[in-house]
């Protein structure tokens, strides 16, 4: 099959959605720009016209609310925020409005809105240009949240998000834009709420989001060489998330490590850990480990960034610790 980068796959999804459904349009700060969205929106403005690819004034709140209004009137807008950090100005329309509109009117209207939120970090950008805030939105009942980790899912989840008919936050990480993967030419959907097992294994379950999936795969190779057989689950959707897939895996492995490159406290990993500790407790043979960013704003200076971000080695250490620990525990008294 054909190979596309993650950014190209997104762009193809956008183009096919725009070509196939006149209700679809794109609005947001930077959509005409050569730099805000990498190549993921490149040329759409010329291909589909400025009436359907609408760059906006620097007005995140109104731009998002405009998209909501268009959605209520039957369009299928995709509102683009070039950074999650800037989207914090639009939390009111997203959380108070988009997420509630169906519920407060008793299901008589829906909000077919996709909110594309970009995580754009590293490169000495610092605290206000690096945030990965998926947990803030995962917390909100009326939102669905997806985080594609591969080219295939980047396209398929985008199309699924638009056809879902409800507010879906689509979060992509610029660190993924250059990654390549196979992508079918036709339009297809990746079901929201279904995880993907990227590697089967029997010793430990590693649940990962977004670009941590690739790190998990790398970590698994290292772990294999050390005799540990890891199962890797790419969560893909964080709300709803695939409980069955995670629980089945933990039933098998008895050990769980969750890797999410965002702040730890109240993060995605906290929810999965809490759910497993609540509903699959008997399957656990070891503590649940979270591999997350430290609870620190993003620094700028390169050596600080180096210390701040996480990757495969952090996952490897987290997994190994569970096994070392188990050996120690076995050497000591058995558990109550």
């Amino acid at each position: 099959m054909r190979t596309l980068t993650y950014a190209q796959a997104m762009r193809e999804g956008f183009a096919q959605l725009l070509a196939s459904d006149p209700r679809v349009f794109v609005i947001g700060q930077g959509v005409w720009s050569p730099w805000y969205a990498g190549t993921s929106l490149q040329g759409l403005e010329r291909e589909f016209g400025r009436n359907r690819i609408i760059d906006s004034p620097v007005s995140e709140n109104a731009t998002t609310a405009v998209a909501i209004g268009a959605a209520l009137a039957g369009m299928r807008p995709i509102v683009f925020h070039p950074r999650m950090d800037f989207m914090l100005l639009a939390v009111d329309p997203i959380v108070n409005q988009a997420a509630n509109w169906s519920y407060i009117f008793g299901g008589q209207i829906n909000v077919p809105l996709v909110i594309r939120a970009v995580i754009n970090r590293g490169g000495e950008q610092g605290a206000q240009h690096s945030q990965a805030l998926q947990a803030m939105f995962m917390h909100i009942p009326g939102l669905k949240v997806v985080m594609p980790a591969t080219s295939y899912d980047a396209k398929g989840l985008l199309i699924a998000a638009v056809s879902d008919g409800n507010p879906v936050m689509y979060i992509d990480d610029r660190w993924l834009y250059g990654e390549s993967g196979e992508v079918p030419e036709e339009m297809y959907e990746v079901s929201i709420g279904i995880a993907a097992i990227r590697r089967t294994g029997s010793d430990v379950t590693i649940v990962a989001t977004s670009h941590m999936c690739a790190h998990a795969v790398q970590a698994a190779a290292t772990l294999e060489s050390r005799g540990i057989d890891a199962e890797i689950i790419d969560l893909r959707s964080i709300k709803p998330w695939d409980r069955e897939c995670v629980f089945n895996s933990v039933r098998k492995t008895g050990r769980l490590v969750i890797a999410d490159a965002a702040w730890k406290t109240c993060g995605v990993a906290a929810e999965i850990a809490a759910a497993v500790a609540g509903e699959a407790f008997d399957d656990l043979r070891a503590p649940i480990s979270r591999v997350c960013l430290p609870d620190v704003p993003a620094p700028t200076s390169a050596p600080l960034e180096e210390a701040y971000y996480i990757g495969a080695t952090h996952i490897v250490s987290a997994v190994e610790e569970l096994f070392v620990r188990n050996e120690k525990a076995l050497a000591a008294k058995p558990r109550r």
């Binding site: 209520l72 008589q108 077919p112």
Partner: protein
């Protein structure tokens, strides 16, 4: 005192087709009587949701909505019974919603602050101040894209113009020349705060000018003026000439929330009310109809018809069932397309 009725931009003697006035009177009477009935029901603790009554402001909703087509979109805020009714929303469903019943216009999930009547173009009223201003711009954008010639209206208060997204929304609408009316009901208060304590100049209509669209100030207690001005603005919008901002000067008789009169709030409130009561928009329309030669009996008849409708609606609401608590988790997402 704030300058009121001073620098209105529209002809205070607006002449409209006399045959339209009875319908406008009826619309205002329906709003007035509903609001006053709801006030009683609040006092009796029959209705318990937070309720913001628009008694005294009826001419704005009635005048603007009369200038609209049924399929035009409107949006409102926390004080939107009038908008709902003027646009043709079902009275029974409104009353049932206030009672929290499953037959309510929002199926008992919304109460007074969240009203819905898609069949007449009301896509929602929500109580976050100013929230629906850019949302109405969005439905106008949809209309422009589809070329469906619909007009969108955002109803909001003077307080809403203090939210930054009001300005963002007006700028965006002007930039894209969208078919939208910004209708500000300037009742001179934002809850307990008179306008002079919240902005330097009493110049809300100038926000239109600042953002490149016409901004007009009109007497919001004269339904004919409001109607006439709205007709022009709607025509502009529908023919692709872009948005208009209408500042309608008015005054709410009741307190900010509930049935109280808030006479304790703000130094001038009592005096102001005395000044505004004689400007009663419903009484003015009634007087106008009598002047036009309409019989008092015909007016009385309208009033008793409306009264009967309201009584029926209250009965309907009382007799309706509450939502089933087992359905608490429903409606967060729509499964089917709407």
């Amino acid at each position: 005192m704030l300058p009121s009725h001073s620098a209105e931009d529209s002809n205070a003697q607006a002449v409209i087709d006399p045959s339209l006035l009875p319908a406008l009177f009826r619309s205002m009477t329906l709003i007035r009587m509903t609001e006053e009935t709801v006030a009683d029901l609040l006092d009796e603790n029959e209705i318990r949701c937070p309720t913001h009554l628009c008694t005294g402001q009826e001419a704005v909703a009635a005048g603007v909505c009369a200038a609209l087509r049924k399929d035009d979109y409107i949006f409102g805020g926390h004080r939107s019974h009038g908008h709902y009714l003027a646009k043709g929303g079902d009275l029974r469903a409104l009353m049932a919603e206030l009672y929290g019943k499953a037959t309510g216009c929002s199926r008992g999930r919304g109460g007074s602050m969240h009203l819905f009547a898609r069949e007449v173009g009301l896509l929602g009223t929500v109580p976050l101040v100013a929230a629906t201003i850019p949302i109405a711009v969005g439905s106008a954008l949809a209309s422009k894209m589809r070329g469906d010639a619909r007009v969108s209206v955002a109803f909001f208060g003077d307080g809403a113009t203090e939210e930054g997204h009001f300005h963002e929304a007006v700028n965006f609408a002007g930039l894209h020349r969208l078919p939208v009316l910004f209708v500000c009901e300037n009742n001179l208060y934002s809850s307990h705060m008179p306008i002079r304590e919240r902005r330097v100049k009493d110049n809300i209509s100038r926000a239109g000018d600042m953002h490149g669209i016409p901004g007009l100030r009109v007497d919001g207690n004269d339904v004919a003026v409001v109607y006439r001005t709205a007709v022009d603005a709607v025509r502009r919008a529908r023919s692709g000439r872009g948005p208009t901002l209408l500042e309608c000067r008015t005054y709410r008789w009741r307190g900010h929330v509930g049935s109280s009169m808030d006479l304790d709030v703000g130094v001038k409130r009592k005096d102001e009310l005395q000044e505004w009561l004689p400007k009663d928009p419903v009484a003015r329309a009634r007087a106008g109809l009598l002047d036009q030669g309409m019989h008092k009996r015909a007016l009385d008849e309208i009033e008793s018809e409306v009264r009967a409708e309201i009584e029926d609606a209250v009965q309907f609401a009382r007799n309706s069932a509450y939502p089933n608590p087992d359905e608490l988790r429903e409606h967060i997402f729509c499964l089917k397309e709407s």
